[in-house]
Symmetry: C2
Subunit: 230 residues, 2 copies
């Protein structure tokens, strides 16, 4: 017993990253033109082979992909799940571990290789990239209902009205202002930047906030969720 049979079937193993941002009040996904076959030249998710000599996990492979293809250092990054099968890649039976990343739109500007597309109107995509993006969007929307996840779409500092607009764009419906502020307060994820306000507009300036250190790497969760509606 325990003979050494064929140790494992050959199988293509990749990572793909659904890089999401908020641009023009819409959730958008960053796509790049593929440099190699198959589907050379087509718009697709940034991705690549897992390199066992280099990557100490698929998460590290995803971090590497983001660094190499989108020049991003440490955005919010979480595993979404695996997508596998004999048909999804013309090269053969393949498995892709998909991740999603959230970044402020400003970090993607001036990167000619990256093309933003609204997730509500996706172009034709190779492999099962459409299904992967849709799964990522569903995950992000669900998590936005009861967590601090959306702050990772904001920049270093932001106002509460801006943060509320981000939540509203993700949830697709208006949120009651008073309730929203009570929830943000409960989440305890942000702190005011003392003396910093967003000036320059013809109205009362808004207080600037930033994400607390403790929430850079982890999420804050609500027991009851943000019950949208106004």
């Amino acid at each position: 017993m325990a003979e050494k049979k064929a140790i494992a079937d050959a199988l293509i193993c990749t990572v793909d990253v659904v890089l999401l941002t908020l641009h023009e009040q819409q959730l958008q996904v960053a796509l790049i033109e593929r440099e190699h076959a198959p589907f050379e030249g087509a718009l697709a998710l940034p991705g690549g082979y897992v390199r066992t000599a280099q990557d100490r996990s698929t998460t590290e492979a995803a971090v590497r992909v983001l660094r190499e293809k989108a020049a991003l250092a440490s955005p919010w990054l979480e595993q979404l799940g695996s997508f596998s099968g004999p048909e999804r890649d013309p090269r053969g039976w393949s498995l892709s571990v998909a991740y999603y990343a959230l970044v402020p739109a400003a970090l993607l500007e001036g990167q000619p290789g990256l093309q933003l597309r609204p997730v509500a109107r996706l172009p034709r995509l190779p492999f099962d990239h459409r299904a992967i993006i849709e799964a990522a969007v569903a995950r992000v929307r669900t998590k936005s209902q009861y967590s601090s996840l959306p702050v990772h779409l904001c920049g270093e500092t932001f106002t509460l009205p801006q943060l509320q607009a981000v939540y509203e764009a993700l949830l697709g419906e208006p949120i009651n202002k008073v309730s929203f502020r009570r929830k943000i307060d409960q989440l305890g994820m942000v702190e005011p930047v003392e003396g910093a306000q967003e000036l320059g507009r013809a109205n009362r300036p808004a207080q600037l906030y930033r994400l607390r250190r403790a929430f850079r790497q982890k999420l804050s969760l609500l027991e009851r969720g943000l019950n949208a509606r106004n």
Copy 2:
């Protein structure tokens, strides 16, 4: 450009299933003795190689593992995530796609190969199986707060007091009976079995319920969660 380099690094690709059930009011995981090296004879999660000739996805591989190793046909099964790295398996860089399954305890009885262990007191386990189980348990507990997931730990029919006890065992705290029934009503996942009651005990018999057809394959979700406490 697009030269055919080494198409992909060799890499061990497996699936592991965290098979959970409720036994003696405790969440327990089913482990089996490994038949082959490495860790031959040790208790571990049921798992196996992804067989590209046979399995049309990693989900199908997990279904096959459950059938072959636990004689289970179609329990609740969901992907948990992937676990990967050079160190987790002594054979080399490996990736395991982990799944979790929920079954009524009755389906596991009389299977000498399966050993139940409370997730609160796990034995020493090979690979990163402890971390995988802990991730599965965390996922199941979180989902139990706002979904119909726990019904899959009940048998074909069950009473509301039984279902409440399942939720309480998972959440680890008592739930208000009136609120619980209101929530179950909102979820709309169960229907009474006409004329069927659980008799035989020295008290008023409880109405038997069953999961509605529409919820066999999908979950019902609450907007506000089951806010435990009594």
